[in-house]
Amino acid sequence: MSDTVRAWRHIPQRYNLMGSKCTQCGTVFFPQRIICPECRRKGQLEDLKLKGEGKIYTYSVITTPTDEFKEIAPYVVAIIELEEGAKVTAQIVDCDPEEVEIGDEVEMVFRRIREEGDDGVISYGFKFKLKK
């Protein structure tokens, strides 16, 4: 599967944080799942559009990235615990790495994720920024 096709398939997830919720036990999953690992066949998963608000669970500062992300280094990548319970990994934008702390409230923003050179497809999707 080419990168272009993979990025395209992930549009609902990357643009709109589309996750799933188990109607049996209430667990929220991101990315989407087909079966609930707890309830198995008893569970049923439905689409849930996550609000995009949460807290920083943990983070790390990337100072020596691959060439592709050299332009934005140093930058922060965090695991975010969403209000609905699921966790996502994303870059924290528009901040100095020193400003970021565990527990900080963050909200989803829409940004460029990567581009395949100057003549390739541009992938867009969620990142997060500190709430003020």
Partner: protein
């Protein structure tokens, strides 16, 4: 006529001061700042472009519109800095506000007035019954060549409008446009930066079209400057804006809310839509607004708008223009050049 159901804005948080740019090129910062009436401008982050700005503005407009996104029948994005030469920004916006797939979408191009052209297209489609709601966005990440006068003002930002005829917060009484073939500012395919006609951009271009569109609207509506509580015009710099306002008979109080270029720069297609949004943030029921865009090439779209009593319940549902202006962090010229891809990397 159709009206505004919701509006939303986005301005990137990075800023560079005019004096910092002047320092690099050896210009006199005070003379530049006074001459253009601009003190600083917004700078997009490396991962921001016209599509991301349009999406943020559109999502904020949807927070105020409070409608089912699937009821949007048309999405138009006006810009002169679409990220792709071929592949519409409007498709990205439509998907990101969850309005796709049952709708028509297209990118608009008319220098800095493509956003208002999209608003007019939506108005026509709503009034004809072809669609229930339309979403029109004006956004840009403007580029000025390093060292060119445009570099002091070319900035980034955008605003989005949900147009419909139910539950409006402001009603568009009339729209009037004035268009001629005038080569004041242009960019040929494949060229990174635009060319402009220096002094030619003033009288025969900006002033002729903005003033003609405003006067045409006055004649059409039987109004004059004193009938409006607020007015906003396209603003390549603060100087042109204030001069146009004065020539039309507006006083400082009527035009100051819509003037954003001194603190965020010229957001091109975003400029008039953002200025109008700044007025809507402050407006009260019954206020009357004149908005006139300008796009090089050249043309102006004028709108005569009356705010209604639903405005107050919608104003606080999304960030205001002043919130976006206050949320800022400065960069120096070196970081700015890196962000704007003006440095060739190994």
């Amino acid at each position: 006529m159709a009206g505004i159901v919701g509006y939303g804005v986005y301005v990137p948080s990075y800023r560079i001061k005019v004096e910092e740019i002047a320092r690099v090129w050896g210009d006199d910062p005070k003379a530049i700042s006074r001459g253009l009436v601009v003190t600083e401008k917004s700078v997009p982050a490396p991962d921001e472009d016209t599509a991301t700005i349009s999406v943020e503005a559109a999502r904020n407009a949807m927070k105020r519109a409070i409608i089912d996104p699937k009821k949007i029948g048309a999405v138009y994005v006006g810009s002169e800095s679409h990220p792709y030469a071929v592949k519409p920004t409007a498709t990205i916006v439509a998907e990101a506000v969850d309005a796709a797939p049952e709708l028509t979408a297209a990118d608009m191009e008319f220098a800095c007035k493509a956003g208002t052209a999209g608003m007019q297209a939506c108005m026509g489609m709503v009034d004809s019954g072809m669609i229930e709601y339309g979403l029109a966005v004006g956004a840009d990440t403007a580029q000025g060549a390093p060292g060119d006068a445009l570099e002091y003002t070319a900035s980034a930002g955008g605003a989005a409008y949900v147009i419909g005829n139910k539950d409006t917060i402001a009603d568009i009484e009339s729209t009037y446009s004035f268009t001629t073939d005038t080569p004041d500012f242009y960019r040929r395919e494949g060229m990174p930066y635009p060319s402009h006609g220096g002094r030619f951009t003033g009288e025969p271009a900006y002033f002729k079209h903005v003033l003609s569109a405003a006067k045409g609207m006055f004649d059409k509506m039987g109004t004059n400057a004193s009938d409006y509580d607020y007015a906003v015009f396209h603003q390549p710099n603060g100087k042109f804006y204030l001069k146009a306002a004065k020539k039309l008979g507006f006083n400082k109080e009527q035009v100051e809310y819509g003037l954003l270029t001194p603190v965020i720069g010229n957001t091109y297609s975003g400029a008039t839509p953002l200025g109008l949004a700044a007025i809507l943030d402050e407006a009260k029921a019954g206020d009357r607004i004149l908005a006139v865009s300008y796009g090089s090439g050249a043309g102006s779209d004028a709108f005569s708008i009356t705010v209604n009593d639903k405005i107050e319940e919608k104003q606080d549902l999304a960030p205001k223009v002043q919130d976006m202006i206050k949320n800022k962090r400065y960069v120096d010229y070196a970081v700015y050049a890196k962000f704007k891809d003006k440095i060739k990397m190994a």
